[in-house]
């Protein structure tokens, strides 16, 4: 880290100059070259592994699942029409499938972005969309409706 030009000189410097010397030294530091591959592999592994339930949550999850089953069964038995998919499709005309409840939609018409992208087929299942498992590796063109916070509000498949 020693800069020989400064070692040879004897005139004083200001603290600001000393800090600039350290800043220049820091700017030359780079992450290890292998770190990117390590990060991407760790991210893939983390996505593939469901987060562990905290102790005691397993019983609550089981109870909640049972309650859901009972509730849905009761609904069917009473032949009640479940409330329409209020948050499922905010605007059928545009063909978007909403991924967040209606109350989470932005109130201003200028706070969403439309982003074109490609999704792997298997990601469709994660988004609650139908997909063909035999073509899970295929990429599908899609448009995402994006809140400035980064949250994906809705998705639309593009033919």
């Amino acid at each position: 880290m020693t800069d020989p030009r400064h070692d040879r000189a004897t005139s004083p410097i200001t603290l600001a100059q000393a800090l600039r010397l350290a800043a220049a030294e820091l700017a030359r530091q780079e992450p290890p070259p292998a770190l990117q591959a390590r990060v991407l592999a760790a991210a893939r592994a983390a996505r593939a592994t469901p987060p562990p339930l905290r102790r005691g949550w397993g019983r609550w999850a089981t109870a909640a699942a049972c309650a859901c089953v009972v509730g849905v069964s009761a609904l069917l038995m009473l032949r009640l029409t479940p409330p329409g998919p209020a948050h499922r499709l905010a605007a059928p005309a545009q063909g978007f499938l909403a991924l967040v409840p209606a109350e989470a939609w932005p109130r201003e018409a200028t706070t969403a972005w439309l982003v074109s992208t490609e999704l792997q087929g298997e990601r469709l299942a994660a988004l609650g969309l139908p997909y063909d498992p035999s073509r899970a590796g295929d990429r599908v063109r899609a448009e995402l409706l994006l809140h400035p916070s980064g949250e994906v509000l809705a998705v639309r498949l593009v033919p």
Binding site: T2, H6, L15, A27, L35, Q36, W113, L146, P148
Partner: protein
């Protein structure tokens, strides 16, 4: 029911922020290429912050990795309206380093050290103008590492990485005024460590 927004509108942050938000959205749906692009843009600054803060390349790499894995697995925690992605990632890396401190792997605790100590010169307006004898980069870094961790962090964020005060305060998890105080006091302490007399600013 709110109508669906049918068009793209660039919001307050401008195209660059929108571009970052779009990449984060792609990360949210599992796009590894988007994560790689964000790594290419942001990793060096996160790593340098961690390295300057803790001085350990291995820990800095681990902290950088934790930041990006957190982004990949919980991208909804990044809110572009509250700050830049770089600040968010640095904040996550800081948490990772703090956890190591808590686990006792570091000798120096990551705690506040804002109490005035002998040798501090509260009245010095511009410590950065203090004259020092000519220093090598090694000597400056050795002095930086002798600073208490909160002071070192403040100098790293503001003076070495030249981040805006508001962003630096967000990363450090402190109020803006606290950060300003720490920067000022850290400069004085560093000057003292490097041999300047803070009572006689030149």
């Amino acid at each position: 029911m709110m109508p669906l927004v049918p068009f793209v509108a660039w919001s307050a942050g401008g195209p660059a922020q929108a571009d970052t938000a779009a990449l984060v959205a792609q990360v949210a749906v599992g796009d590894s290429a988007a994560l790689a692009e964000l790594y290419r843009r942001e990793a060096a600054a996160v790593y340098r912050y961690a390295l300057a803060f803790c001085g350990n390349p291995g820990w800095s790499a681990d902290a950088t990795q934790e930041a990006f894995v957190a982004l990949a697995t919980r991208p909804q925690r990044f809110d572009a309206t509250r700050g830049s992605l770089g600040a968010y990632l640095a904040g996550v890396a800081r948490h990772a380093l703090a956890a190591r401190w808590r686990e006792g792997f570091a000798a120096q605790p990551l705690t506040d050290d804002d109490e005035p100590t002998e040798g501090d010169a509260e009245g010095t307006a511009s410590p950065e103008t203090l004259l020092l004898r000519r220093q090598s980069s090694d000597e400056v870094w050795a002095a930086l590492r002798r600073l208490p961790a909160p002071f070192r962090e403040a100098l790293v964020l503001v003076d070495l990485q030249e981040r805006p005060y508001a962003e630096a305060a967000r990363i450090a998890g402190i109020e803006l005024n606290t950060l300003r105080t720490r920067v000022h006091r850290a400069r004085l302490k560093l000057a003292a460590l490097l041999g300047a007399d803070p009572r006689d600013p030149s």
